[in-house]
């Protein structure tokens, strides 16, 4: 597995973490009403969206490099 392939795996894991953390923060906000949790929820969801965009860019830019 090349660095390109591992990077793709890593970015997918990061995207899942970002949206997962967003959901965790949202549920915490719903239960406790802390403003900080709402900020984390919005921030990590935005980070997830940025990572999805980055993921598409990486796939396009590194298309000539082998997955092995």
């Amino acid at each position: 597995m090349s660095l390109k392939a591992f990077h793709i795996v890593f970015v997918i894991a990061s995207i899942l973490l970002a949206f997962g953390f967003g959901a965790w923060s949202y549920f915490d906000y719903r239960d406790q009403g802390t403003t900080a949790d709402l900020i984390y929820a919005i921030g990590s969801t935005l980070a997830g969206i940025i990572l999805v965009i980055y993921f598409r860019v990486v796939l396009r830019k590194l298309k000539n490099i082998s997955y092995l």
């Binding site: 597995m1 890593f10 973490l17 965790w24 802390t34 092995l68």
Partner: protein, 272 residues
């Protein structure tokens, strides 16, 4: 003597040797961290209700460190891609950011450790428990320290709530969350046990420090390798650019593994 297959691909694996080597090494690392993760999960699942500490780690700091490591993984790939495109100047720029990220991660982690070493739990003789800070924020105090220093009381700033208690809903504009910070005097005779948040505190902190310190050592080791290839090791680019690019790929694979471990560590230790 020439080392074979540093650039040329082997016929049997279709890989150069270093890539086979790093994946064998990373396989052993997966087993090491996998065993620790499994231990953590099994111990946590088996812990009696109310005894497993949670909510004691600083989530914003952990989240920030996660962003730092994700950025460092992006710059590692950028630096490798720069070499593939024949641009060593950009490689140096991106790897410098990677090194900065590694140092930032370790610095932030050391502050987080420091905070744990000055954060305490008191088990009182009446069976109640409280967490908080001792006046003056001393490091590594324990029940024995009270005896050694012949203290008859401890001035304690308790946290708003103990981790075993359910968290109360935050009321907008209320000051309830600050009430717990008022200093109280706890007589030494009422303290059954005193411990900072160190490995001896509980199974949770023992495995927390084992996992995060082992991960921190990997970050440090990875930064040393990347630093070498960024500095003196970069001379190889002039004589054998393809081999140098392969070395960067190998260091990048290790770095990604270290970062991926953190992607799992953060939710398991900080959130769940």
């Amino acid at each position: 003597m020439d080392i074979p297959f540093t650039v040329k691909l082997r016929d049997d694996t279709n890989l150069y040797n270093a890539k086979v080597g790093i994946w064998l090494f990373l396989g052993s690392e997966v087993m090491l961290f996998g065993a620790l993760f499994s231990s953590y999960i099994l111990l946590r699942v088996g812990a009696p209700a109310g005894t497993w500490p949670h909510g004691l780690l600083n989530v914003p700091i952990g989240a920030f460190n996660t962003i730092v490591l994700i950025v460092s993984s992006v710059t590692v790939v950028m630096s490798w891609a720069s070499l593939k495109l024949g641009n060593p100047g950009k490689f140096r720029f991106y790897q410098a950011i990677t090194l900065l990220c590694a140092l930032s991660f370790l610095t932030i982690k050391s502050f987080e450790y420091r905070d744990k070493f000055t954060h305490y739990e008191i088990w009182k003789t009446d069976g109640t428990r409280m967490t908080g800070h001792i006046e003056g924020s001393p490091y590594f105090w324990s029940t024995r320290t009270l005896k050694d220093k012949k203290l008859d009381q401890v001035v304690f700033h308790p946290d708003p709530h103990h981790y075993a208690e359910p968290v109360q809903r935050h009321e907008a504009g209320g000051g309830a969350e600050h009430e717990g910070h008022a200093a109280i005097s706890v007589p030494a005779s009422e303290i059954a046990r005193l411990s900072a948040f160190v490995p001896a505190h509980s199974t949770y902190f023992a495995i927390y420090f084992t996992l995060t310190a082992l991960h921190g050592l990997h970050v440090f080791g990875g930064a040393l390798v990347i630093g070498y290839l960024w500095g003196p090791g970069a001379k190889l680019w002039k004589t054998d650019p393809e081999r140098f690019t392969n070395r960067i790929e190998i260091s990048g694979l290790f770095w990604h593994f270290v970062d991926l471990v953190w992607i799992f560590l953060f939710p398991v230790l900080y959130l769940l």
